[in-house]
């Protein structure tokens, strides 16, 4: 509730120094910095990152590390992510948040499916909740072998508690084809207590469908254009939900309600619908 307090912390960009950068693949880089609030974020939550003079954009928190108490992992696809990808240690960026709903942990046997940079929030999930799970299957998908992310890190975290399945669209490593194809097969044949996924929306849609057919609970982390991050501007809407506030992690029930939009269209900065291919 808002009652004005002179000493109330104001949620606006906190300027932090980049402590280190590390290449995860030829096109993906992790950026480390110190920020107490970010370091307390739960898996699946995101922050708004301000690159002064360029723009502000939503990015998930990824692995914690000694190189800084918080980390984000980015792939350059436009002006904002390009600028973020190219920051050097010592550069200043602004961070606000963390925002959004986190992944919920469950006990038992879980399937984790990540495509591309979608693996960023999933790695934090594995790291934080490893003790809850009796068995973990992680599917790491990418277009081609040198774009596979976090395989070593997942091996470290799993410590023999599960398996990692690699898929590449071109077959240069692991299974040849989409991560969703392997996921669909496993969901049909094995009993999972929960499926977690983050990545391209069509991949998540396919996994959602397979989970529905088998009656398995699922949590998926979605992406939409964001401006505020805390639920008033409306730019991140999907059906009756806001990705920044009701999500980014959505459960089975919510995914059912938004089925007509999920994997069908998103919206650009003007609010105009654009088809998802």
């Amino acid at each position: 509730m808002f009652r004005y307090q002179a000493d109330k912390p104001i949620d606006r960009p906190r300027i932090v120094s980049v402590k280190a950068v590390e290449d995860e693949s030829p096109i993906v880089r992790t950026i480390y910095f110190d920020d107490e609030k970010c370091s307390e974020a739960l898996p699946g939550q995101f922050i708004m990152v301000w690159i002064p003079g360029v723009k502000e954009l939503p990015i998930s928190l990824s692995l914690p590390s000694k190189k800084g108490n918080s980390a984000i992992t980015v792939k350059p696809i436009g002006p904002g992510t390009n600028a973020l990808y190219n920051v050097k240690p010592g550069d200043k960026i602004g961070v606000r948040g963390p925002y959004g709903t986190p992944f919920q942990p469950t006990n038992g046997k879980v399937l984790i499916v990540g495509g591309g940079t979608g693996l960023a929030p999933l790695s934090l999930l594995c790291y934080k909740y490893i003790s809850y799970y009796t068995h973990i299957t992680v599917i790491v998908g990418a277009r081609t072998s040198n774009q596979l992310l976090f395989i070593d890190k997942f091996q470290d975290i799993l410590k023999g508690k599960g398996r990692i399945i690699v898929t590449t669209d071109d077959g240069s490593k692991g299974y040849r084809g989409f991560a969703s194809e392997v996921a669909e097969k496993l969901i049909k044949t094995e009993d999972f207590d929960m499926v977690y996924t983050c990545g391209p929306e069509l991949m998540m849609k396919a996994i959602f469908k397979a989970s529905e057919e088998r009656g398995v609970a699922i949590q998926a982390s979605l992406e939409r254009v964001m401006r505020c991050g805390f639920g008033i501007c409306g730019s991140c809407c999907i059906d009756r939900y806001l990705v920044c506030k009701d999500g980014p992690v959505f459960n089975t029930h919510q995914l059912r309600i938004m089925q007509d939009e999920l994997g069908v269209y998103s919206r650009d900065y003007s609010g105009r619908r654009v088809n998802i291919h």
Partner: protein
């Protein structure tokens, strides 16, 4: 035993089950989302402002928190009228108390917007003559009484639906502007839009908003807004809808005593989520009971007698 007070209001033909509305530009153009706001308790909803063409809006950052509110410069992002018509066609809105906020830079543009929207099931229009940070539209037009008169008249000519004019606090004489809207045939005045403002980050020395300047909303502007509602409602005959910094039921009551027939809520959603509507309605209802009123209409403008 006091009976349950009647919360319903009708503003120049626009019917709502209670006097709370969602303010323009909050939560966007998605009809399913606006329906959710109604389900959360709002008596009516106003859409994001729609113009003739698609607008991306300004680069992010678009909004930043300050000690007593937010400063935003979204830049009238909208998909354009034709795409918005498709959005309306996707859903059945016949039962929704929905007002479309529109903006334009000339009478011609307002004509195009209203003539296209008039055939749909939307219940009325709010003319955004008050956005403080986009040149050529909004407050730039809204500070010229002659333009306000001409645009309102033009819109009245093409539609029989209620027309509300939303005015800016960034003008020299707000009473003159409100009278110009009334003379042009407006069915109500919405007061107020955001106040021109700015935020600078002291570490980098940079203005935070990409547009550098924006509009202040939230608790910081409430006393300003109350004064506008008080002034305007004493000087025009058409109803006034209050907007600006409403966060608690007490704020809503204050606006109504000052002369508002209904209230719009925006920024409070950032603090409280959609629950804010129910919370405010419960508070209004309890207040009316305690004061022995049977209807919310009874308290509108009560402070004028002092």
């Amino acid at each position: 035993m006091s009976s349950i007070p009647d919360l319903s209001v009708e503003i120049s033909g626009f019917k709502m089950k209670n006097p709370t509305m969602l303010a323009a530009g909050i939560l966007g153009v998605s009809i399913p989302l606006l329906r959710r706001v109604l389900e959360a308790g709002a008596g009516g909803v106003v859409t994001k402002s729609i113009g003739v063409g698609q607008r991306k809006g300004y680069e992010t950052p678009n909004i930043v928190e300050v000690s007593c509110g937010y400063v935003n410069a979204v830049g009238l992002s909208n998909p354009g009228i034709d795409e918005f018509l498709e959005e309306l066609q996707k859903s059945d809105i016949s039962d929704m108390p929905i007002i479309v906020s529109i903006f334009g830079k000339s009478e011609m543009e307002f004509f195009e917007l209203v003539s296209k929207l008039d055939k749909t099931d939307v219940k009325g229009f709010e003319l955004n003559l008050s956005c403080p940070h986009v040149s050529g539209v909004g407050a730039e037009i809204g500070s010229d009484p002659n333009m306000v008169y001409k645009i309102t008249k033009e819109v009245k000519r093409c539609s029989k639906k209620p027309i509300f004019v939303k005015i800016s606090p960034n003008v020299t004489d707000h009473i003159e502007i409100a009278r110009a809207a009334e003379d042009g045939g407006a069915d109500g005045i919405v007061a107020i839009n955001t106040l021109r403002a700015m935020v600078i980050d002291i570490e980098t020395g940079r203005p935070i908003l990409s547009n550098r300047v924006g509009g202040l909303s939230g608790p910081a502007i409430k006393p300003v807004a109350v004064r506008y509602v008080y002034d305007i409602s004493r000087n025009v005959k058409i109803p006034v809808i209050g907007c600006g910094g409403i966060n608690h039921w007490e704020d809503a009551i204050e606006f109504m005593l000052a002369g508002a027939s209904a209230v719009q809520i925006g920024t409070a959603i950032a603090y409280k989520g959609l629950n804010v509507f129910n919370e405010i309605l419960y508070g209004i209802s309890e207040y009316l009971k305690r004061k022995g009123h049977h209807s919310v209409k009874e308290i509108v403008g009560l402070s004028h007698k002092f």
